[in-house]
Amino acid sequence: MSSRESILAAVRRNRPEPTPLPPVADFGGEATVEQFTHWLHFIGGQVIHIDPAQPLEEVVRHLYPEAVRVASDLLPATVPVDAHTPTAVLEAVDVAVLRGELGVAENGAVWVPEANMLHRALPMIAQHLALVLDHASIVATMHQAYAAVQHTGHYGVFIAGPSKTADIEQSLVIGAHGARSLVVLLR
């Protein structure tokens, strides 16, 4: 008998009496820009309100005056990135500016599906990350976020703030392996 069969047989033998699956939860909550901003700041990120009329390029240049290599599909990029871009090119990206699909007010997380990433590694390998988010696409909680996303696709990530660690004496350090800073450009 293969391990698969023997494991499944053991589960069938040992599983407890059936219990019901509870219905999908939703506890309401505040889907506000204020909540979202509060929590994103709390976890080390930043919210910047932008005027939809202002070219994104200007906003980004103003925010990252020293960034030379900018990867984005939302503005004229200086580094073209797609799914086949070699690691060496990705590694040199200063700033990635990508579209966030959905913001979560209770924790400052932003849903970024694969389609918005240009390359799967870009949101983590870029030194800095900016996510452009429509203020109308903020939901209250993770329950509503998953309800809105429905299917998490081939690959997708909720990104909540910059990469961080507290593995050395519980001291919070921003910029572990992923992006050193995270800005949400809210329009």
Binding site: I43, L90, Y146, A166, A176, A179
Partner: protein, 455 residues
Amino acid sequence: MSHPQRAAAFTSDAERTTWHDETLWFVRQKRDKAVYGIPEFQQLRQLASDIKEHTLSRLDEYLEQFEQNARANGVTVHWAADAEEHNRIVLDLIRKAGATSLVKSKSMLTEECHLNPYLVKNGIAVVDTDLGERIVQLREEAPSHLVLPAIHLKKEDVGETFHLHLGTPKGEKDPQALTEAARLHLREKFLIGEVAITGVNFAVAETGAVVVCTNEGNADLGVNLARVHIACMGMEKLIPRTADLGVFTRLLARSATGQPVTTYTSHFARPAEGREMHIVIVDNGRTRQLGRPDFRASLKCIRCGACMNTCPVYRRSGGHSYDFTVPGPIGAILSPNIDMRQHSSLPFASTLCGSCTDVCPVKIDIHAQLYKWRQIIAQEGELPAAKKLGMKLLSSVLARPGIYRFGGKVAREGLRFLPHGLTHAAAFNPWAKARELPEPPKQSFRDWYAQQVVK
């Protein structure tokens, strides 16, 4: 060695023990603050518990559904009955990929299976990429906590380790500088990684996706730059629906560190074009635990570590004193299932105060299970000789009122004139190691009561 013996080594440094205790208590307080901000938190705990219980009651069906969906996504699913088979499968995959090195993000399962030493023995270079795990890996130690692997170390220790292995200046102990050094060192490893191993926080049956939660971004960076992704999961990681992630992602980070959510909550379902993804589903004793009605609830665990942060024994004895992959209260109920003889002292590493049960986000009755394991361990004759003898002696005294009365008298009189060094000698009276015995009363309750009746 038993838990008390290993704990004695840890507590010999009183200052460090105090620091460890206070630091973890601080994490517990951060947890409380995060939890109190969510009015429905107790309902979420109940939901999480119900979802997990339901999943366990139909685990075979969900495993098959998960496998079918993962396969449809282009993922290869492997099954491992035990640690050895798991390790063999992983090594095979690495060899098939023609790789000699790999990057690994946090996975308690691979710790449980002792994957690293196995791979190293077979000529594979393994780099743990979680900062805390990298620190303990360089020091050739085991993680001492589920989510804070290097919590037993001070920044000076880390500075010394990095000086030795990463060439940071001697005496450098600034966490910011040390983290930056690790970032640069590990980036090199990510860039050349051919194979990436991750653990799994949740496996969603209805989509075949696995969800990995990190703060550092190391899982995503590793997987998305490597050609082959191997996700290793214990079979109890399954949940039925994507919607259930709403419940668990709200509980996990808040319970673990007091964060509202982990920085990265990543959903891997299908490998990128031209790449491979494998999932290894591991039993390693889990089906046996499923068949123990008193202990199966331990399979609901989502590895948040809240029970450790709150445990007065864990906080003061350190993770290494448990000598098991999962330390703390949850480790003390998981370990006897793996090897009761080896881990027989762990269910006694508890005051049974129940704080672990109170903070558990999936409502595992941890302290009740600790108590039940004690009964089994005693029945199986696995108690240490002194405890066994002491219990026997005590029960024979308590069963004979005459001897009990006489013993009380001897103790009351004896304590008055015997030297302190003898009555508090650690060899005879371990209870008095750090405590004073109470002043002996002049008379027993029985004598006092008799006088009251006469009046």
